[in-house]
């Protein structure tokens, strides 16, 4: 295929353009980067124009804008809707990065930068695959692109956009590259995603910071109390204690569990790579099941009192925690958020006041493997990688996948090319140059197979 040769011969330019995008700190969780959010959206718009779309526009929302582009060859042909996001996770703690998060560098054939994989690198592969096919008249079907800027904060306003543009977004399949494969030797396709419920908890004790000597022992300490409350959320068997939390969780059949167990997984390697002496999770489930088919509760952040250098004997007025639950199919994120919030209020002792603020959420999703889209993705891997990909359930959440199923009635094909070692959401996020280039090839092949009669 001419497109493939073109992709290989344009490697350096394809990398240079991605680096340009990675230099824009489009962090959606922190308002101080809103100018860069805009710059990133405009960069994508310009690249779509250069690549040869019919039209591209920056759609304003009540939050960050959505970049929409399309190329309609013939209304009778099938249509692929590509979804991706140009926003990234916060880069802090900055001091843990070996090189500045927004000054991309290549080391050992890996691109190091915030967003290198999640999702700038994976999203931009679609722009370049499209360019290659257009240049050689090898685009076999219609394509629409919807690139948002709020995925890392829960796609708060994408729902409104999708609901308001059902006609415009009409398609036969949705293609998303925002997930990982098991390894470069063992490619996989994600067929399950967890939902998310994310809240912030504020615990208030006395109305001001107190001297821990004069009041200590007599006034409830909001940090100790927050710890007590968090500790009660998970029992010693690793079960989440929030009443009703598991009510809608489906138990997998023994057959399904056996199938999952076939995935190559080395627990010792896993522990070694993370430098932990033991894993920790819900009793009665394997590590792959714990991240794949079971809901979880994690404190993502906690703070209160004096956290500076040295010692300060303060009994603080307030303590805070950010707590999120990963959800499985049928658990409704709004219902879970409500259950967790009410439970925290219920277990709060009388000596404190508790305030729970929902920060965001999304539904879990399962993607059928017997669809035309999945088969095309599987064939694309076979062609580009010479291997048949394994269907995998991923622990992560892409809230919009559930949204697309609900509003557009479309399944998403999760054609992701990341690796665990990419350390997305962590310092020193990276993405393999091999995965970037091979991903562009695979996407190009996907169109060919999907458009086949």
């Amino acid at each position: 295929m001419k497109s493939i040769d073109y992709i290989l011969s344009n490697k350096q330019r394809y990398l240079d353009e991605l680096f340009e995008l990675l230099r824009i700190p489009s962090v959606s969780a922190d308002k101080k980067f809103s100018g860069d959010i805009r710059k990133a959206a405009e960069f994508i718009r310009d690249k779509f124009n250069e690549a040869g779309v019919d039209s591209v526009e920056i759609h304003e929302t009540d939050g960050n804008p959505v970049v929409y582009a399309e190329k309609i060859l013939d209304k009778t042909l099938p249509t692929v809707l590509v979804y991706g996001h140009y926003d990234v996770q916060p880069a802090d703690p900055y001091e843990l990065w070996d090189s500045p998060p927004f000054e991309p560098v290549i080391k050992d054939d890996r691109i190091y930068a915030r967003g290198a994989c999640d999702d700038k690198g994976q999203m931009y592969m679609h722009v370049k695959a499209f360019e290659a096919m257009i240049k050689h008249d090898e685009l076999p079907c219609n394509v629409k692109f919807m690139i948002e800027g709020e995925e890392e904060v829960g796609s708060e306003h994408l729902g409104d956009f999708v609901k308001a543009n059902k006609e415009k977004l009409a398609a036969d399949v949705i293609l998303v590259s925002d997930t990982s494969i098991l390894s470069n030797d063992c490619p996989s396709i994600t067929v399950g995603l967890r939902g998310l419920s994310y809240i912030e908890v504020e615990v208030t004790g006395p109305n001001r910071d107190l001297h821990s000597g004069i009041y200590g022992g007599a006034v409830g300490n909001p940090i100790n109390t927050l710890c007590d409350m968090v500790s009660q959320l998970i029992d010693d068997k690793g079960h989440i204690t929030v009443p009703g939390f598991y009510d809608k969780v489906q138990d997998l059949s023994e057959a399904d569990r056996a199938a999952m167990a076939k995935a190559p997984f080395d627990i010792e390697m896993y522990k070694k790579e993370l430098d932990i002496d033991d894993v920790k999770g819900e009793e009665g489930f394997s590590t792959l099941e714990r991240v794949g088919i079971r809901p979880t509760l994690d404190v993502n952040g906690i703070w209160g009192g004096y956290i500076g250098e040295g010692a300060k004997t303060v009994l603080p007025s307030k303590a805070y925690a950010k707590i999120s639950c990963r959800l499985v199919p049928n658990q409704d994120h709004e219902e879970i958020t409500e259950l967790v919030a009410r439970h925290l209020e219920k277990i709060a002792p009388k000596h404190v006041k508790v305030k729970v603020t929902p920060l965001h959420g999304g539904q879990a999703a399962v993607i059928p493997t017997d669809s035309k889209g999945y088969r095309a993705a599987s064939q694309a891997f076979e062609k580009a990688w010479g291997k048949t990909p394994i269907p995998m359930r991923d622990g992560g959440s892409i809230p919009i996948v559930g949204l697309f199923q609900d509003v557009l009635g479309l399944d998403s094909i999760l054609l992701g090319f990341g690796l665990d070692q990419d350390a997305i959401h962590s310092p020193n996020e990276s993405y393999g140059v091999f995965n970037y280039m091979k991903g562009i090839e695979t996407i190009t092949w996907f169109y060919q197979f999907f458009a086949k009669k």
Copy 2:
């Protein structure tokens, strides 16, 4: 007494000089203020010279310097050793101050600034009382001043200084103004102080921050684990669960408890002033007992994971807590630090690593009320306030009081004039102008009574 008239007529200058001192941000817990530590020490030295001491010097230590001054009238006369500190607590969170912490202002006859009471205000009263007595030849005995700069971080290097200067520091009594009275209508003298054991705990899970979707549920979260550990330190009766923690705690006699119960205390006012619906503490003890005669454990600070704006789905590598225990007589702070550290290591689950770092500590102390020093202090209050002070046990810690008993064999008279409402260690720390001036008078009277044959 001429000195008293002089004090009253120099009120404005005495306030102006204190304001100068309060403008120096001599925070000992944060190295970035070390230049201001120096400036504060030099300010004190100069004021001692102006006040008329024989000699004053800034003694270097391995930490912050000690300002030592003396006025020896006659070796046969009794000698008073005055202790105070020129360092202050950190002022953060700055945003909670109504006026900048290091720009003192007077509102409603109260001085608002970090250190206004603790201890710049109370320490400086001694300099001014001394000046007044010198000016009118009314100093009736020898006096030595030892003003340190590390009290708020545990007086780490004062011990070396005291041990190395036993001769120089020889005295008949130690006078310290770093405590509070019950109220201006009901003055009191602190006769008991709690000790302190202060540690920092670091809990490490995986070797890097992880994506909570990909690893959540399968890898132990160090924040959740830290919460579990903290929660185990105190049981549901408010007892500290560290083995051996209470072994050396003395139970007070029913008579002593009855005497304590006589102190005027309104629990409803207490709750109202702190805006709490309930107090919280060890079962079987009153609020005054909980802060006066019982040891405590408080988390003074906690942090880990993402604490910025918005939501970040991180499973962090590390979580931290600053934990301190207030100790009662006979509890050795080094032994307690050891017990707490070993216990934390013992209850740490296999999926995390725990590191405990002692930050500082000090011994508890009880001051006898039948001493010449205590009687002089009591008489000074009667003279200046027209009321006999109540002997009180205070929950705070002044580690050096225990040190002085051990090394110099001297009791400290805690002639403090603060009030609860001074909010020391908190935003908007303040000190009553009345207490500042009345304190200078009381100190002046103390010398007269103490020197009496």
